[in-house]
């Protein structure tokens, strides 16, 4: 089963949110959970990035690529970046993979690669 990351679109005003927030930041709707979950697009533009060397204990790699990507449609996400020579503004594509291992638990998220 292919995994997707979901954004939440307000039923009243159509504003898309990622990550989830309780109250729509577009219209301030006070009704609970008036959102439609929709899968985030996977294509986008790399807004900024870094390679982190001082990593949390769970990551036993020399360095970890992270980036902020603006996806088609305007939602911006943070994700891991598997690109050796990244450039600001380059087109990227994301897939949902394991991004963190903890004892007895794997966490899934977006990993972006150059197109």
């Amino acid at each position: 089963m292919e995994r997707r990351i979901y954004a939440y679109r307000c039923r009243s005003c159509g504003t898309a949110h990622y990550p989830f927030r309780m109250r729509c930041k577009g219209c301030g709707n006070l009704e609970f959970f008036e959102f439609d979950a929709e899968p985030l697009p996977t294509a986008g533009t790399l807004l900024t990035f870094t390679h982190v060397h001082n990593l949390p204990a769970e990551y036993e790699v020399e360095r970890l690529g992270l980036g902020v990507v603006e996806l088609e449609g305007g939602v911006r996400v943070t994700g891991q970046m598997d690109i050796d020579r990244p450039e600001l503004g380059m087109p990227v594509s994301g897939s949902v993979e394991v991004v963190r291992h903890e004892p007895y638990e794997d966490y899934w998220g977006l990993v972006f690669r150059a197109v």
Binding site: H51, A57, L64, L66, V68
Partner: protein
């Protein structure tokens, strides 16, 4: 709202303190009580972020109020991430300003080195958004690094500018007996020499080792009082004239403009508005340089320099001791250290010392108005304070 004055101050050495967290909070409180000549405290606020998570101690304020023998005074912990200190001072100001209390003790403390470096980094990383940031291994240096890259692209800030802030602040700390780092560094050593990559390796590109503040233990305290109570105190009169706070999105990717620290701008504006003055009136400032880029960016958002011109002012020496707006003459977070809960109060401690004209070798001449910026999370919760010398 009534006027609020600073009657007493106290601070510990910052560095590695092998004492219980409650004592690290109490020690500067006792210094402050001696400084003010006051022991009748009605309310205690304790600024702290990690007591439950890394020090295995909850209800810290209850422990501190008792160890200081100040029971039955009221006591609460104020937690606002790295902005806990200024938030606690905000609560103290409200408590006295509202008329509910006359004497309030605000102390901040953190004992980060009770755990190893990896756990300390993880502890700070819990500030990030759990689902959209933390799971990816995002840390605060990672956020600062991604922000720095955009600042470099948009405004022409370079690694040299960052190194200049690091050298300025770490060397300034040599004039501060309480500072964590007591080691001179040079631009040649950290940037220009062939060995600079080993001396100053990347932490999160493009931020390097000396661009990041150290992990520290420490505590600081201010006693806030009403005008009537201040009349009985034999110390210079420094008023906490303005407090401003603003928040922004939790997930950094959702910020409207990723090169803006909107919460800093709003918090500073609100603080100045309350104090009845502006950035041009400030003589000395303590900005939150957990990462060197933040000093540059905050100096712009607070209104001291135009947007994108903070690094130019740095080049001109404006922000050095002796410049037109000395920033972080205490060493800042970079040189003084960053015990998370204590920092906001340590910044205030420095400003009050400056306004009392008791700062010795690091005194800024004729300092009359001082400003602090305490930056929580990665800019999603910022508290700014303005202090004015009265007599």
């Amino acid at each position: 709202m009534r006027s609020v004055y600073v009657a007493g101050i106290g601070i510990t050495s910052f560095g590695r303190l092998e004492y219980p967290l409650a004592e690290i909070a109490a020690y500067p409180a006792m210094m402050a009580m001696k400084d003010a000549g006051l022991t009748e405290v009605e309310q205690v606020y304790v600024a702290n972020m990690g007591s439950g998570r890394i020090n295995h101690q909850t209800g810290l304020a209850s422990a501190v109020v008792d160890t200081l023998s100040l029971t039955p005074a009221g006591a609460e912990v104020i937690e606002n991430g790295p902005a806990s200190g200024a938030s606690a001072l905000k609560q103290g100001m409200l408590a006295v300003g509202s008329g509910m209390y006359d004497v309030v003790l605000v102390t901040g403390a953190e004992r980060m080195r009770e755990v190893n470096n990896l756990d300390a980094t993880d502890f700070i990383a819990t500030l990030t958004h759990p689902l959209s940031e933390y799971v990816y291994g995002v840390t605060l240096p990672a956020h600062a690094a991604m922000f720095t890259r955009l600042y470099m692209a948009k405004y022409g800030v370079t690694e040299r500018h960052l190194a200049m802030v690091a050298v300025k602040n770490q060397n300034q700390a040599m004039t501060n007996a309480f500072a964590h780092l007591q080691q001179r560094i040079t631009i040649e050593g950290i940037l220009d020499s062939p060995e600079a990559m080993t001396n100053n390796p990347y932490v999160a590109e493009p931020l390097r080792f000396f661009d990041c503040c150290p992990v520290s233990d420490g505590g600081a305290c201010l006693i806030l009082v009403s005008e009537d109570a201040m009349a009985g105190v034999d110390r210079p009169w420094v008023r906490l004239a303005g407090v401003g706070q603003a928040t922004d999105t939790h997930a950094v990717a959702e910020r409207t403009d990723p090169t803006e620290l909107t919460a800093v701008r709003l918090a500073a504006e609100r603080s100045f508005a309350m104090a009845g003055c502006g950035p041009a009136d400030v003589d000395v400032a303590e900005l939150h340089d957990a990462f060197t880029i933040l000093e540059i960016a905050e100096s712009e958002e607070a209104g001291f320099f135009g947007k994108g011109e903070g690094h130019l002012a740095l080049e001109q020496g404006e922000t050095c001791h002796g410049g037109s707006l000395p920033i972080n003459v205490s060493g800042g977070l970079k040189g003084r250290g960053h015990p998370v809960g204590a920092t906001g109060i340590a910044q205030a401690h420095e400003i009050v010392t400056q306004l009392r004209h008791e700062a010795g070798a690091r005194q800024v001449d004729d300092a009359a108005i001082g400003f602090t910026c305490n930056f929580g999370g990665f800019g999603n919760n910022v508290v700014c304070l303005t202090f004015i010398k009265e007599r």
